[in-house]
Symmetry: C2
Subunit: 373 residues, 2 copies
DNA sequence: CTGTTAGCGCCTTCAT
DNA sequence: ATGAAGGCGCTAACAG
């Protein structure tokens, strides 16, 4: 390390001279004052020009201003602008886990919409760490963002409430936060689960295993799990079929219950029941798939049917049936909500649940594939 | 839409009253002046406290300040700070494609390092659109970021040069930009390719097909392609083996040359040669895998060997051999470079090429698997 | 140890 | 139609 630095230092002289030459008049970015001087006018006119108050400036002045700006390569300082106006067009986007494709997809919608409305999204990645999440939230408030879109991880209602009370609109994505009433947009989980289960049943599966990460803290997981049980229950009640279902909690950090899954599969198949695993999201699906592959070899799919919520990129490759979330739209809608509130709309908190789309692939389609061995 | 809005408006009254009550004294964030008044002192002392100039403040004053800050829930305005100090701790991170897992992984390294150095990364996602990329670059300069990390897409040397000349350090990631000499960090592509090819050859493959996206504009692709040809050539020259290799350009937007791949595979297998496909990155690998699966069915891997650069999450599931990039480190290193320059280091531009790691999986391991049918 | 003063770059009355 | 002056929230000399 020291040596490398030493080596680098050898070039010090030369580079320094080059830089000195190049940056002579250019090291400091031009300010509005510079432009005013260059154009031979006052700062006010420049400001007016920048803010598009056209028609209030004589044609010649405008031309001179344009020249000056071009010559100095001037760009107004957003920070200073924000300081004065009280709005800096920054919105925070706090995501729990960029590693989850869901997040990235939502992000694309958010970005597009932000652009359309003229916002600059400040993306913060909590990387599944609650501490980081809180820190970022504070940081965002420190940068005086005009609004925040939160894909909550473990924030307490209180932390967000502080923000909201400070007059900063908050829109929740995918997950709601207990005790906090704000706009929220996400998947219509109940309906998605219902749709998926009906598909499975119609394909002849009569034993369903729902695999989900620890769900106490995460509303969407909670809702999905509840919907799973409800739907299974309703099936029984309505006598449509005698499908049985159970939930398995899988912690991706310790894989504790993977064996439990195997046991269930074995038991079911011994009783000649056709069993299907239903993963509550993409990360779970991947973990389960990897495990099954390890256990049963490359053609594990012939033994076990797997479907999941979230249509990840490898779903097609694995031929896995999924429910695709309207991720892009979710992101867009979140920004729309945020925008309305930033613009001062005072309306009751809204909950926007968008429908998922069932994507049927081979994993759940051919009844002959999934008998017991 | 209109109806929904109308419905929402019904709540207007109630909500408004609530808000009026809650926000009475709280709607505007407290400023340093408020704190000073509350603590019965001057702004300077507050400022000193904020900047950790401890030991210069009497214990009692410090206590009063702490109380005031807590009571008012005061948070210094970063914008104002930045305006005054000339540094706002913002660094830009411009990525070409968040959809590519590579990008996300690098990002994690960047975020971690930024945190360590006290920077706030402003993540901009160009979504593979050159226009967006340029716009974001301007935006970043407008927000007066102290440095930029660029995973270049199509930026002209000129655009970045303008930034750099404005005194904003630039660090390139993965791809270099023609005509621009700056710090750059990425994979040691040549060595990675060499390593991969030697692996393939040692496994008995004697015909290699390198599949890469159009590479004229992207330096890393260019380097990989060249390294592929060079290495193949060197093999021939040194008489180590009679391995033949060819490059196929695959545009993921139109899939034009997929058929070409099939033709090559057929031809090779007709001549009883053992062929392996080598994808230049994860997106290409996925596209090729999907195509092969469509063509040859679920057990396409028995017919064709596929490996790639980039160790995506589904690689394990598919049992595909890969070269994993040291993505996290790349991100960290990029920030380190940036930090040094921001701190004023004047050293010759550096190029940091990190080694990849060969991850051998079944796709290229069992010689018996990949004969012709 | 502490307060006063003068800006940072920009926008916004308010005159002219 | 244009410009001068004051201030946004904060820091950095200078005094005391």
């Amino acid at each position: 390390m020291d040596k490398a630095r030493l080596g680098a230092l050898c070039f010090y002289r030369v580079l320094n001279e080059n830089m000195a030459r190049d940056n002579f008049a250019n090291d400091r970015r031009a300010t509005i004052t510079d432009v005013a001087r260059e154009a031979g006018t006052g700062k006010t006119s420049i400001s007016r020009y920048l803010n598009g108050e056209t028609g209030v400036l004589s044609t010649q002045l405008r031309e001179r201003i344009e020249e000056a700006i071009a010559k100095l390569d001037y760009r107004p300082n957003q920070m200073a602008r924000g300081l004065k106006r009280g709005r800096n067009r920054l919105v925070g986007m706090l995501v729990a886990d960029l590693t989850n494709p869901y997040t990235v997809e939502v992000l694309q919608g958010v970005e597009a919409a932000c652009h359309a409305y003229g916002y600059m999204p400040l993306i913060c990645h909590a990387a599944n760490e609650v501490d980081l999440e809180r820190r970022y939230l504070q940081l965002l408030s420190t940068y005086r963002v005009e609004g925040v879109i939160v894909n909550a991880l473990g924030v307490k209602e209180e932390t967000l409430e502080t923000l909201a009370r400070g007059g900063v609109p908050v829109v929740l994505v995918d997950r709601s936060v207990e005790g906090l009433v704000t706009d929220m947009v996400g998947l219509d989980n109940a309906e998605a689960i219902r749709m998926a289960i009906h598909h499975l049943v119609s394909q002849g599966f009569d034993e369903l295993l729902f695999v989900v990460q620890p769900y106490a803290q995460v509303s969407s997981r909670r809702v999905r799990e509840a919907a799973f049980r409800d739907t299974i229950g309703a099936l029984g009640i309505s006598g449509v079929s005698d499908v049985s279902g159970a939930t398995i909690v899988l912690d991706l950090d310790n894989d504790e219950n993977l064996a439990e899954i195997d046991a269930r599969i074995d038991a079911a198949q011994r009783r000649s029941r056709r069993i299907a695993l239903f993963a509550a999201n993409a990360p779970v699906a991947l973990r389960v798939a990897l495990h099954l592959k390890e256990l049963h070899g490359a053609d594990w799919q012939r033994r076990v049917a797997l479907m999941s919520i979230d249509d990840s990129e490898w779903a097609e490759l694995a031929g896995m049936t999924t429910v695709r979330q309207p991720t892009y739209t979710i992101g867009e809608r979140a920004v729309e909500f945020l925008h309305e509130r930033i613009e001062g709309a005072v309306v009751a908190p809204r909950e926007c649940l968008l429908p998922g789309e069932l994507i049927v692939r081979t994993s759940t389609s051919a009844p002959t594939n999934n008998g017991n061995t």
